[in-house]
Symmetry: C2
Subunit: 763 residues, 2 copies
């Protein structure tokens, strides 16, 4: 029976006689539960739901406890979701540049979060027609707008290439040589893989090299904007509600993937036609209920579940506080610039949004790690591990030194961390300097044979690099960029003598006294000169320079190119340090992790690493604090109750009117007599899961993941059954908005959701 037929059976309720079993089935072992104490304030009638822990690679589905999942409400076979070599429903879930998305029609209609398409919406906006303010609907396919760089990655295949990557690696390599060996192998594997037409490949490293997985993806490059609510709904509640519950954001956008007339991926073009995906999710207008099983598919970016206490302490005491300090100041500068120069607001909006998000994340991380007292819990776990290792001479011999070696290595490498932190953000802070670095590095790498170049700077990357350089124009504002560079220069001056960026010190050296001068006047003067002498603020100029040879760039009088070249030794050294660290961790982390896996004796899921994963979870609330329970659904009435008329609580008049008139179409939940807006589950998610399709037990789309709750930010370091909750848009409010507010019957029809009778007659 093919998967589609099986799915049909499941849809008609005939497929499976499900084993009745306990709900407490655990999938996999438990790395670190951040808070094991009993919660006193769960409503008395609410049991703790089955854990949603685990971001499972699709290949892990084969080994999962299918009967346990049936008992929890799964209505399809795990093999229908994904069978290696065959595919499956999961293929409807796709990657979208740091986000997740999914196909919801045969004609390539995609759904993702509003905030994932934010840049595309912004790039289609002008002061006269601001789609962020007004929202957007294409009434026909002809009206669908260029996504300006939006790309969709359709996963095709995973293969374990660990042996091939590590094969022939000498034991006495330095860490830099080690990582170069690994990168070389990865590049070879990718090159071979990409010989297939229209295929993008990537070797995904799990836990610093415990396993290497080749991911094969189809890249669709013409992705268009189909429908989006205004930002006042898409991110209703703004930074006030971000990372919070109760939530009422309609964080969704509809896109469509196009291909050329031969069905091949192509750049945006008038002759392109809608893409027909192999799989798409059926949209389920009935939604989902409390205690129901949900599945999340997506590409979670990064977790650190197996960190040592040393790393958690460093995160808590150094890394997140550094982010809080830098991001707060950076936001202040961009906001002040927007106040002063209104034209800067649109280009800098995405950046401010991202920084605010990062700031709240960092603050929540600090609060969460402290609340869970994770450092001392990790210390406690380490003691257990030591006892376990030393209880057996074989273990002792094999793993006895792994932890201490890893920690000693990490400790040695804390030296210069402030410099590396600032260097990393410097190239993001001044976009123009970032352009100069990309262009000079691209020219520099091009002097080498393709296979020897730095990953990210091979011929296969040419198009992406150029596209990024061009698209960046829409988020560039020169004054904002200058002011951000001033911030970084000032911070660089706080570095100790042996960590200075020499090129910056030289640039700020007084020609008379020969002393470096980081006074505000001197920094301002320097930045003014720097921007006056560069053409990199201009899109065409960047495109032209992108094709220059390294020698041509060396001869260039462009001040920013010259600064990038002067910084080259420092940036290359920084790059080498990063690489070296990767090599060191590839040497030291895997053996330590092997011991953990052995000790815990249960199935293991690797840390999130932007590869496709699946999570199984339950729709359920949680207690943020004593005496309070966050219930798992919010409603349109709750959205209207929050409205103040002031940003970020200023929904459009017609939405408030429809709610007041209880014009709910057919989308009201019967129990609530209201349309659900957002809901909670205990699914294991992290950044990158934005836009993830949320499926019911039948594999039908019932929502879109878009956030976690504040109490779960520190969950990256350890899943907590009491507090790990993610926030999703309910598909019913999406359909309600499309039908009742936009009148987009054609899209409902395309998704095979029958539109209700005209408003007023319904319900």
């Amino acid at each position: 029976m093919n998967t589609l037929a099986m799915r049909r059976l499941a849809c008609f309720g005939l497929a499976l006689v499900l084993a009745q079993g306990g709900c407490k089935t655990k999938s996999g072992h438990e790395p670190v539960h951040m808070d094991g104490k009993k919660t006193s304030c769960r409503p008395e009638a609410e049991p703790l739901s089955p854990s949603g822990e685990g971001m499972w690679p699709w290949t892990a589905l084969e080994q999962m406890d299918e009967r346990g999942l049936f008992a929890r409400g799964l209505k399809l076979r795990l093999a229908e979701i994904w069978t290696p070599g065959e595919g499956g429903l999961a293929r409807a879930a796709v990657g979208l540049r740091g986000c997740s998305a999914s196909f919801v029609s045969e004609d390539g209609l995609l759904i993702t979060n509003h905030h994932c398409a934010h840049r595309a919406i912004q790039r289609n906006s002008t002061p006269e027609r601001n789609l962020l303010e007004q929202g957007f609907l294409a009434r026909s396919r002809a009206e669908e707008l260029d996504g300006h760089g939006l790309k969709v990655l359709v996963f095709q295949k995973h293969s374990d290439v660990t042996d091939r990557v590590l094969e022939g690696m000498a034991g006495d390599l330095s860490d830099l040589e080690r990582i170069r060996h690994i990168e070389k192998r990865e590049k070879e594997i990718v090159k071979e893989c990409e010989a297939k037409p229209d295929t993008r490949c990537e070797v995904s490293r799990e836990n610093d090299g415990l396993r290497y997985v080749l991911l094969e993806k189809l890249e669709l490059r013409d992705v268009r904007l189909v429908a989006a609510p205004p930002e006042s709904l898409g991110s209703y509640g703004g930074e006030v509600d971000n990372w919070r519950w109760p939530r009422h954001s309609m964080d969704f956008t509809l896109l469509r993937a196009y291909v050329d007339r031969e069905g091949k991926p192509a750049e945006y073009g008038p002759d392109n036609v809608p893409y027909h995906p192999a799989e798409h999710f059926q949209v389920c207008a009935d939604g989902i209920s409390q205690d129901d099983l949900v599945m999340l598919l997506g590409t979670p970016y990064h977790t650190a579940r197996y960190s040592t206490a040393f790393e958690v302490r460093q995160a808590l005491e150094w890394y997140y506080p550094m982010r809080v300090s830098l991001f707060s100041e950076w936001i202040r500068i961009l906001e002040a610039t927007c106040q002063e120069i209104p034209e800067s607001c649109i280009p800098t909006a995405s950046r401010v949004r991202g920084l605010n998000n990062g700031l709240t994340n960092a603050e929540g991380m600090i609060a969460g790690l402290e609340r869970a007292n994770l450092v001392s819990r990790k210390d406690g776990e380490h003691k257990e591990w030591v006892d376990w290792v030393h209880a057996d001479p074989k273990r002792s011999e094999r793993w006895g030194k792994t932890h201490d070696e890893l920690v000693r290595y990490l400790d040695e490498r804390t030296k210069g961390r402030d410099r590396d932190f600032l260097t990393r953000y410097l190239l993001r802070g001044s976009q123009v300097l970032g352009f100069a670095r990309t262009i000079t590095k691209w020219a520099s790498e091009r002097r080498k044979p393709d296979e020897e170049r730095e990953p990210g700077f091979q011929e296969r990357d040419r198009e992406n690099l150029l596209s990024d350089l061009k698209q960046a124009q829409r988020s560039l504002h020169i004054t904002a960029d200058k002011r951000t560079l001033v911030l970084f220069l000032t911070r660089l001056d706080t570095l100790p003598a042996d960590e200075r960026l020499q090129a910056i010190d030289e640039a700020l050296r007084d020609p008379v006294t020969l002393e470096t001068d980081f006074s505000p006047a001197s920094v301002q003067r320097y930045v003014k000169t720097l921007y006056a002498g560069t053409t990199l603020g201009d899109e065409a100029s960047r495109e032209a320079l992108f094709n220059s040879s390294f020698a041509e760039l060396e001869a260039s009088e462009d001040t920013m190119i010259q600064l990038a070249l002067a910084l080259k030794p420092a940036l290359d050294a920084w790059n080498d340090r990063k690489k070296e660290r990767e090599g060191g961790l590839a040497r030291l982390r895997p053996p330590y992790l092997e011991s953990l896996i052995e000790m815990r004796g249960a199935r293991f899921y690797p840390d999130a690493n932007a590869s496709p994963r699946i999570a199984f979870a339950t729709v359920t609330g949680y207690s943020p604090r004593d005496g309070v329970w966050h219930t798992p659904f919010t409603t349109l009435t709750g959205l209207a109750d929050k409205a103040t008329g002031e940003e970020p609580f200023d929904p459009p008049r017609e939405v408030l009117d429809a709610i007041k008139a209880r014009n709910f179409g057919t989308y009201a939940d019967e129990k609530r007599d209201d349309v659900p807006v957002c809901f909670l589950s205990n699914s294991d998610t992290t950044g990158g899961n934005s836009g993830s399709p949320v499926l019911d037990g039948h594999g039908r789309l019932v929502g879109l993941n878009f956030d976690r709750v504040y109490e779960n930010i520190a969950g990256d370091f350890g899943y907590n059954p009491e507090l790990s909750r993610n926030v999703m848009v309910d598909v019913r409010v999406v359909l309600w908005y499309l039908e009742v507010i936009l009148g987009a019957g054609h899209l409902l029809q395309e998704m095979h959701v029958s539109a209700a009778p005209p408003s007023g007659a319904s319900h």
Copy 2:
């Protein structure tokens, strides 16, 4: 079988075979439910609990649905609670000056709220030994402290005296004559009643004269302080948490009533002995659980459930905004004074607390009335009433004009309301002016035969008046008093020409220009002179003047006495207006209410009027807003989680240590593995219910009422099954504090609660 024996049986679970029945039993009709819409965010497993509506006079118990209450968990007969002419368990619930309290031992041990005993604790405090900061425990009866004016009223008997009050009232009386007639009858009835020794009597008017009830009480005047937590626990969370959930205040204090050696009520004296109450509540160390029935006994002060839309509008648009404005400024002045003059902090603490409480109440009232849209709901109800009245000629003839006449009357009397509002608070604002008014009015009234005097100024009131004048010393701070008077004088200057207080205008008339001068300098100068020329700031002086004749006062040179005399015409006129209004409402409200009772055709409970009541309710949470459920219990761990070390979240170290050590004695709730601190029910309560004993179905004490939630402040105008929730201290935290923190085993023994083995060994 006598009631005690019956109760014993109930305690052993033998008493009653309870009818199994639906839980939806409603007691009485529903006057105004403020919000009938479905709540969307109650946890899905939580049904709406049986309504807790109704503050029932004890005499109503005879007619209540006993079987329905058995089905909800009542384990005793209603007749055991109260049987007219016989008494009952309810007699253990007593009145305590604006609060409620109850006996919990044979030896007169009483329990009430910390905030109800606040003044007594304050009056026993000195800067060197501040009992508000340190808390207090009498290790023996000899150490129990004088309550300084605390009085307990033990209810003995209720009798309906409506016929006697209204008998012989001519139909053509003016409103002032009408109220004088009523007052005369009330005074006669009270006098006759008080002929019994040690009896205090009161005629309680229900709903402006729908019914008059004679309440007979025994007054115990020697009430001592036995044990109290520090204010940092008693009002943990302070104004931040006041009127809020989740709550973690240990708002309790233990007192003891004393009598003379003959068992008669007496003033505080060394030879007095503990009082032996006829009834006391058994303390139930097992506490209570969610969904359990609870009963509240107490003296709720005032509700306005049967108000017209006109009155609700006036409350929303005028009265509460006036309070917000006045109280905010008044608090600011007292707080600034406390900052500047630390000695003023202790005397003004109770006042600041009261004002803050009133301010939050007023703000919550405005928010709640707006949220419930109560004005337009009242308008809608009125339309229904009009239809009902006009559907029947008899009704139309009898009641057709009642509503409009009432509203017309109320409307006419809005003229001058600002003046009357300020006059009322003026006498509370300047305590010294208040003393002068009491003394001059007392002298003035004493010129009349006792039975003709104003209620409150008869011989029976002498002792209370004098005691108030003396005790006030401890809450008096002259600078704070002066500054408050400045506030009032400044506000009085905003009154229009025809509403001015002439005596104040005269006092502030410039002797040269003959213009009134309310400039800051002039007001300051006047207030300085006023306080320089009075001895009323001195306790002995007040006592001496209290015995002066009116002529002696007229001849006095005391500036404040002279001001009170100059204000006498205005204050007497204000008094007459109040009386006249009472007369008008006694004429107009009862017939309108009779029609409402008839129309709604169900049992009726009168508005709260400080007479003893009982409420039947369920322990249950509520949803303050979409996506959030307030669960009905908080815990010690939650208390510790809130601690910041800064007021008002600065609990004593030993309390935090005991919680950290999980030294919970035997008081941890099994399900939570923690000691419950506060809990919620849907009981119908209002101001005056502070300190109310909360009983389980067996009539055992399980908690003390002390607050309502913010969403329920406007409940005074209409019970709301979704939002009407009251906040109680759990008796388990009281016992935990007494045993684990104070080591007060003698008190546990007295309450027949067995103390647990020494800490550490327990659990």
